[in-house]
């Protein structure tokens, strides 16, 4: 009878670097540029933040990047939970995230008209009532999460409907008459 051999332990894979408040300090430099100091590592200047799961976890898993001297964008690490950072650092990251995303959230769809291969939308967003045009093509209205759609207008501006089913019935009807996919 042979003695069963123990399974060798798997070598830990490095994965992404987690940024935690005990080792990471985010602060503002001149001209409102974001900097990030990490214990036992260098000071990163000109830092910017990106959401890793902008649909499923918009407030978590935030990746901090910087641009090196060769103009390459490099990741510093990922903040799993921003709320554990000091409030002033949270505010800085939130401000940077706000600068990185320019998206309109559609709340109402008042009119959708088709002409010249374009859909002419009149909608209400967080900025009020507005109009935009988009090409009536499958690649201009992509899925956004499980139930939403992101519309790319003719100039690539982004209009998001987080949940099509949550639109008022008449608005939904107007919308799905054309964005049926």
């Amino acid at each position: 009878m042979t003695t069963p051999q123990s399974t060798p332990a798997l070598a830990p894979a490095p994965g992404v670097r987690r940024l935690t408040p005990d080792k990471t300090t985010i602060f503002e430099g001149v001209l409102s540029v974001l900097h990030c100091a990490i214990q036992n590592d260098q000071l990163y200047r000109g830092v910017f933040a990106i959401r890793m799961f902008p649909v499923r976890h918009p407030t978590r898993f935030i990746s901090l990047h910087f641009t090196d001297l060769d103009d390459k964008d490099r990741e510093i690490g990922v903040i799993e939970d921003l709320s554990v950072f000091p409030p002033e650092q949270q505010a800085l990251v939130q401000r940077d995230l706000a600068a990185h995303y320019h998206e309109k959230i559609i709340r109402r769809v008042f009119e959708v008209k088709y002409e010249y291969g374009l859909l002419f939308f009149e909608v209400e967003t967080q900025d009020g009532r507005e109009k935009f045009e988009m090409q009536w093509r499958g690649d201009r209205a992509e899925e956004y999460g499980d139930a939403g759609r992101v519309l790319l207008d003719a100039l690539d501006n982004r209009y998001i409907i987080p949940d099509v089913e949550a639109l008022p019935p008449a608005d939904r009807q107007r919308f799905t008459n054309f964005i049926y996919w």
């Binding site: 540029v33 103009d71 990185h100 090409q135 501006n157 982004r158």
Partner: protein, 744 residues
């Protein structure tokens, strides 16, 4: 200030901006150019002006609330670099100072084009090169200069200004080549309708003069004979009309399919980056079917019925106008119902089509990736996805069919009410001797014929809804912009030498996100050049530009000293061969696959090519040798065998430029050796560009380009690059050497 400046974009600067600029000592004479942004740094919609002088760039809010610059001034002399940093839905103009970027101003994607141009001028300013300010005021490629309507593609014709015809008009235009036959068909239809009007008239004579009054009993046989003749002629005409409409219809759908295929061949590669293959297949296969029925539906479904309605309507009014008015009573209900049907059902046809298209895409992905599904044990998940897609089709179909199934009986009920009204009013008229029984019988005969065509016409909208949604998808392909310009006077290059030059090339699949950044290099004719770099560094993009699958946004690509934009693409593609990591083989025989680029190649030439590609031996072992039929994507051959077939295919074309894109990456070591031997033959005397992860395969290259983050980071021979201890190439070679040792 703007008056004296060389250029002020869009319009004059607002007064608060002029005032704020003056406080910084900036005058109109200083201003080189100004560009308006549409967001402030918080993302709020706000007019912000970038003012650029010879010395500084500075951003001011147009409303002047702050009274000071929003950002800046940034000294040009202290600026190391300028970039437009693409974010999500917008971008940021940034300048690098002291080794890191600072934000100058933010804008939405609406302003991306103009800031892309401004960035180029700022780079020139920083580099001390002369400005080209006219580019800032050049018309937009994205919107119509006349009516500001967004264009379907960069630089495309404006659909509003070019008076694009409607879908139905364009569909009718497809019939133009068959005008003669269609005219014959219309004549036959008029004759047919005239014949249809005859039987009720004869019925009147039969009832009143033969059966009731018995005045002309001997007419009975004659009337019956005429009725039989009428029915025979009508049947004959129906056959002729049906045959003509089928002939013309199939010709139209065939011509349309050919047009679609030709257009799909002409469309640039970027079109396929944006559209799912399943969706395109569905359009060519199924949407064109609708056009086949177009002639039949327009002629027999619409025109005949319109003629019948007009003809019968005239007869009804001629016989008794009071009763005829009663016949018209249900018409408003029919029209209202049709409009309702149009509005409610029309969009549901889109959903039905979408469900079928999604199912096709799902099946295509699932069947071609069956090995992957099995390997990862995801059969159950795929079953669930399929069930969802099948359910989607079912729901879409149910919605369309139940709506139709509800609408039709309601319409039938409305029509039957019309018939009952005639019985009521007409019956009283007969009893009161105001009309004869024969007239009522004839009238009822006509009424029976009248509602049928009305119903068919209202149902025609049902067909039209489906047809228009198909037509829209078909014309979408036909109208798609071919993004690569065709040279007006293409320069022939019948005998390519193979010298290649990239001059300051910047290119991105998304025009605002460059993959290659200001890349310049030269390859002499006949050289063997290796391209190395990390995944995503831009290696394949280089060869995509050599093959002119795309055009660069900036800079130029030359082949034998001629800009590839000016070269006859037929000459170019005939003499440039591409061997990809995943060789693509078609369903067909091995010999057909080898001779794909030279269909008329002699069998001996095919064998020579295969021999030189080290493919001949394994082909000989097959029962049918070169006539062996291959399945989809070369099923039946191993990865290495497929690759050698694709090399033989390239060899047979005797290309002057050979591009090997990771040609040996996905095969085992033994196959790789075989392929390397084949490639050694193939590369002799021709310009060869080889992209390879296994650097050992590039040792003999005349020159190696190391691409990193879209730039040529290093270049030189293997030996020269190995002398740079901290170089990228040296590091890559060291890593691979260690990996090889570990594998041993």
């Amino acid at each position: 200030m703007p008056e004296g400046s060389s250029l002020v974009l869009i319009r004059q600067l607002p007064e608060p901006v002029v005032a704020a600029a003056s406080r910084l000592g900036i005058t109109g004479a200083d201003c080189l150019f100004c560009v308006r942004a549409d967001l402030d740094h918080t993302g709020k919609a706000r007019d912000v002006w970038l003012v650029v002088t010879q010395k500084v760039l500075v951003a001011f809010a147009a409303d002047g609330v702050e009274g000071t610059p929003l950002t800046g001034p940034f000294e040009i002399a202290a600026t190391e670099k300028v970039r437009t940093f693409q974010t999500v839905g917008g971008a940021i103009l940034q300048v690098m100072r002291d080794g890191f970027y600072s934000n100058v101003l933010r804008y939405s994607n609406s302003r991306r084009e103009i800031f892309g141009r401004a960035r180029q001028q700022l780079e020139r300013l920083v580099d001390g090169r002369p400005l080209q300010l006219e580019s800032l005021s050049a018309p937009s490629d994205l919107v119509c200069a006349t009516c500001a309507l967004p264009l379907p593609g960069r630089g495309a014709a404006c659909p509003r200004c070019s008076q694009h015809a409607g879908l139905m008009r364009r569909s009718l235009a497809l019939m133009k080549p068959y005008t003669g036959r269609i005219a014959m068909m219309v004549i036959m239809m008029v004759a047919g309708v005239s014949l249809d009007l005859l039987p009720p008239l004869l019925t009147k004579v039969l009832v009143d003069d033969v059966l009731k009054e018995r005045a002309h009993v001997n007419w009975l046989e004659w009337i019956l004979l005429i009725l039989v003749t009428t029915a025979t002629l009508r049947g004959l005409l129906n056959v002729l009309i049906g045959r003509t409409s089928v002939t013309v219809g199939t010709q139209i759908s065939k011509a349309l399919r050919e047009q679609l295929q030709a257009k799909l061949m002409r469309l640039s590669v970027d079109y396929y980056d944006r559209h799912a293959v399943g969706s395109l297949m569905s359009r060519v296969l199924y949407d064109t079917e609708y056009f086949q029925g177009f002639v039949h539906q327009v002629a027999q479904g619409f025109l005949v019925n319109v003629m019948l309605v007009l003809g019968i309507g005239s007869m009804l009014f001629f016989m008794n106008w009071q009763l005829a008015l009663l016949v018209l009573l249900p018409i408003p209900f029919v029209v209202t119902g049709t409009i309702f049907f149009w509005k409610r059902i029309y969009p549901r046809y889109y959903r039905l089509w979408d469900s079928q298209s999604k199912m096709a895409q799902l099946l295509s992905g699932f069947l071609s990736g069956i090995r992957l599904v099995k390997t990862f044990g995801q059969e159950e998940r795929e079953r669930e996805r399929f069930t969802q897609a099948a359910q989607y089709i079912r729901q879409a179909r149910v919605t369309v069919e139940t709506s139709t199934a509800t609408f039709n009986p309601i319409m039938a009920f409305v029509f039957s009410l019309g018939g009952l009204l005639i019985w009521e009013a007409g019956g009283h008229s007969v009893l009161e001797d105001r009309i004869s029984l024969g007239t009522l019988m004839a009238f009822l005969g006509y009424v029976g014929m009248f509602y049928g065509p009305i119903s068919a016409i209202s149902m025609f909208s049902n067909w039209v809804t489906g047809f228009l949604s198909s037509a829209q998808r078909v014309f979408e392909i036909l109208d798609a912009q071919v993004t690569l310009s065709v040279p007006k006077n293409p320069k022939p290059l019948p005998d390519l030498r193979g010298a290649i030059e990239f001059r300051n090339v910047t290119f991105g699949y998304d025009p605002y996100v460059p993959v290659l950044k200001n890349v310049s290099f030269k390859i002499e004719a006949g050289q063997f050049v290796g391209i190395v770099g990390k995944s995503g560094s831009g290696k394949t993009t280089v060869v995509n530009l050599v093959c002119r699958f795309y055009d660069p946004q900036e800079g130029e690509v030359f082949i034998d000293g001629v800009n590839v934009r000016d070269v006859d693409t037929h000459d170019l593609h005939r003499q440039v061969a591409l061997v990809l990591q995943e060789p693509f083989l078609f369903r067909g025989s091995i010999s057909e696959n080898i001779a794909y680029g030279r269909p008329g190649a002699a069998p001996v030439a095919i064998m020579d090519a295969a021999r030189n590609a080290n493919a001949h031996e394994f082909v000989c072992k097959r029962h049918a040798a070169y006539d062996t039929r291959l399945g989809e994507r070369g099923a039946g051959l191993s990865g290495g065998e497929r690759q050698r077939i694709s090399i033989a295919r390239a060899l047979l074309c005797e290309p002057k430029v050979l591009i090997l894109d990771e040609a040996t990456s996905s095969v085992d070591t033994e196959s790789e050796q075989e392929i390397q031997k084949a490639l050694a033959v193939l590369c002799k005397g021709r310009t060869t560009i080889a992209i390879a992860h296994r650097l050992s395969t590039l040792k003999s290259a005349d020159h190696i380009l190391v691409i990193d983050e879209g730039r040529v980071a290093e270049s030189g021979t293997h030996d020269a690059l190995m002398t740079k201890q901290d170089g990228i190439y040296h590091k890559l070679v060291m890593i691979q050497t260690q990996l090889t040792r570990l594998e041993m």
